[in-house]
């Protein structure tokens, strides 16, 4: 079956046996394929992992946005989601752990014509990279941040993260997590993000739309995507496989656009509030900087768009 834009997606993964061989061979017609480095397939993600689903939404959002892909750069940190940069056919940077945002800051400031996407995981962006993300949101630099939250450090074997719900079992919280987690939308809202949304990998249409939204919005934008980790988080917490995670997301999710972000914190088994929580306008970092410098320096100010050397 060819996926067609604009049609509702089928929910949940289809058993592989149902896909006839000739259909697999027709893969070049898949509209997503042009966005992927097919010479790098198969990818490293586990069966049932949600990261690939988010990449599918990302590719469809790029298609729908009509952006010139030569002018889109993607920056990742380290971890399972950190591998996204390596699989998409864009100028892509797989940086150091937690530092995707400051790398993206330099990239964007030296060439503001680029659409710069930061695509990374919850541990990368909010534990080791926590200081960088709050400052980038404060500055309101025009970065599009997509955070895949699977509640654990997947790449290293399922350790607890600043997003791990209380009582959840991880390899470093074998008796249940006792630390309260971050409420990511509230943190980003408080730090100054102009767009804050949360979806799950069950909500592929809404997620794609949110990505299109942030490609069109100027300023620091943030999307949290809840994503299953069947190998580690689901297994240790007896939450089943990838399909069970979809059922869980479907059952627990409540769409509440505009919900006060202080009320959208997550628990292990409780409701998952999803939706677009913040969509506002604040002056963007570069615009503010240029306005300030031009105001103070007048004609002495030399504004250069792209800082390219010879």
């Amino acid at each position: 079956m060819k996926a067609e834009a604009g049609q509702p997606a089928e929910l949940g993964p289809r058993p592989e046996a149902e896909i006839p061989a000739e259909e697999c061979e027709s893969a070049p017609d898949n509209p997503v394929e042009q966005f992927l480095r097919t010479d790098r397939m198969p990818h490293i993600w586990c069966p049932g992992c949600g990261i690939g689903t988010t990449v599918n939404s990302f590719a469809r959002a790029l298609l729908e946005s009509g952006l010139n892909l030569d002018q889109v750069a993607i920056v990742s940190g380290i971890g399972c989601t950190g591998r996204v940069a390596g699989y998409v056919r864009l100028d892509s940077f797989h940086t150091t752990h937690g530092r995707a945002i400051p790398f993206a800051t330099g990239l964007k400031l030296a060439n503001p014509n680029l659409t710069v996407v930061v695509y990374s995981g919850d541990g990368d962006l909010f534990a080791i990279g926590g200081n960088h993300i709050i400052h980038a949101a404060r500055r309101n630099l025009d970065l599009k941040v997509i955070c895949v939250n699977n509640f654990v450090y997947g790449m290293t074997g399922g350790q607890g993260a600043p997003t791990t719900p209380v009582s959840a079992i991880t390899s470093t919280t074998p008796y249940g997590c006792s630390e309260p987690p971050f409420n990511l939308p509230a943190l980003m809202d408080a730090a100054g993000a102009v767009y804050v949304a949360r979806w799950t990998t069950f909500h592929v249409r809404q997620l794609t739309r949110a990505m299109v939204d942030i490609f069109r919005k100027k300023g620091f934008c943030f999307i949290e995507v809840l994503s299953p980790c069947p190998t580690l988080y689901q297994r240790k917490n007896r939450m089943g496989d990838g399909l069970d995670a979809m059922k869980f997301y479907k059952q627990k999710s409540k769409i509440r656009h505009g919900a006060p972000t202080g009320e959208v914190g997550l628990t292990k088994e409780g409701d998952i509030i999803v939706g677009k929580f913040v969509d506002r306008d604040r002056p963007e970092f570069l615009d503010l900087m240029r306005r300030q410098l031009a105001g103070q320096l007048g004609e002495r100010y030399v504004e250069v768009e792209h800082l390219v050397c010879n």
Partner: protein
């Protein structure tokens, strides 16, 4: 080689401290992006850059910490800019992560370290030369960098330009290893006209997208670069990677990449070696020094000669890669090396290693916070001549 862009060149005769002179050198070299975090005694470099860059055309951003500053410059470089950051000991420790990243991803960039006393917070306002080994070995894994040591504000200017040129030529992070004395000492600095300043251009590929492999080395083992936004759709990773830039976790890929990262510098070591020497041919003792210590050493040599000693001077300007072939050659004729430095034994150990037992090496250590008295170095010279 190109000529400097006159917009960044403050041609004239100035009275500048080393920090400001280094900033002018960076501007003359074409740096149009700097990211920094305040730290004594280096902050004057970025303070001047913040004041100057809006009238030249470029960006300064003060980041939330040195981790951020040291990778923001890498981002700017991959977008096309020449970029640098500035720090001192504690910040340099935080930057190690991205010195390794820059080495691994062959990102041409410059780190300026105005050294102060350590370890830890140490002596924020006082000099040391105790980060010399950290500059070479501070990040994990095997890699090579280039480090230059100025001993005057004029050299802070001159060597800042050379640092950018070498970064571009070899696609490595280059360290300008200043110290608090040189950074805060004010002297005459002559900035030549732009057309007299040579600039090594970015090694940008001429191949079209599709025929370009971002990490395929040229003859000198250095690959050509492309920038984000040009249609190449290339991948850069700190993982071990192949010529396409794709991760490759094999023994062979590791050997090929890390071996090349090392060889591209070691095979150029003779060309990179830069030093000043005087009276070494028939010297019994050679005083080897660098940075501010070389100025004290000069006085010590004068005092020793007044006592009839045959003493020569070797001042290292390029410290990394270490000019070991030259030290080895000098060790054949000299009886001993005397090595004063503002640490408890770093470069002196390199001298000893390079001399390989042919000549004795005598350390003149100093824990930092001031400079040697010439007599301390003199005593060491007279000691070996006994």
């Amino acid at each position: 080689m190109l000529h400097a862009d006159p917009k960044g060149v403050l041609t004239g005769v100035h009275f500048l401290d080393g920090d400001h002179a280094a900033c002018e050198g960076a501007l003359a070299a074409g740096a149009r992006f700097a990211a920094g975090y305040p730290i004594t005694p280096s902050t004057e470099v970025v303070e001047r850059f913040a004041a100057r860059i809006p009238t030249v055309g470029g960006v300064f951003i003060q980041m939330e910490d040195e981790l951020a500053a040291s990778i923001a410059i890498a981002g700017a470089v991959w977008a096309g800019a020449k970029a640098f950051t500035v720090t001192s000991g504690p910040g340099f420790s935080l930057m190690m992560e991205h010195i390794g990243f820059a080495a691994m991803t062959e990102t041409p960039c410059v780190f300026i370290n105005v050294q102060r006393g350590g370890p830890s917070t140490g002596l924020p306002t006082l000099p040391a030369q105790a980060d010399m080994m950290q500059a070479r070995w501070g990040s994990h894994g095997d890699y090579e960098i280039i480090a230059l040591c100025p001993n005057s504000p004029q050299e802070c200017f001159d060597l800042a330009i050379r640092a950018f040129n070498l970064a571009e030529q070899y696609r490595v992070p280059v360290m300008l290893m200043m110290d608090e004395c040189v950074g805060h000492m004010t002297e005459k600095v002559v900035i030549p006209p732009a057309e007299q300043i040579e600039i090594y251009p970015r090694r940008h590929t001429r191949r079209p997208p599709g025929q370009y492999q971002p990490f395929a080395p040229a003859e000198d083992l250095v690959p050509e670069m492309a920038h984000a936004g040009e249609g190449y759709r290339f991948h850069v990773t700190g993982l071990t990677h192949d010529e396409r830039g794709y991760p490759s976790m094999t023994v062979a890929a590791q050997d090929r990449l890390v071996g090349r990262l090392k060889r591209k510098i070691t095979q150029a070591a003779d060309r990179l070696a830069c030093y000043q020497e005087e009276g070494v041919e028939d010297a019994q003792v050679i005083v080897v020094s660098y940075g501010i210590t070389s100025r004290v050493a000069q006085r010590a040599v004068e005092l020793a000669r007044a006592r009839g000693a045959k003493v020569g001077r070797l001042r290292l300007i390029t410290v990394w890669p270490f000019p070991e072939a030259h030290i080895r050659a000098l060790a054949r004729t000299a009886k001993a090396f005397v090595v004063p430095e503002l640490n408890l034994g770093q470069i002196s150990l390199e001298v000893e290693r390079a001399a390989a037992g042919q000549a004795r090496t005598l350390q003149v250590p100093h824990a930092g916070g001031g400079v040697h008295r010439p007599e301390q170095i003199l005593d060491a010279i007279m000691e070996v001549l006994k």
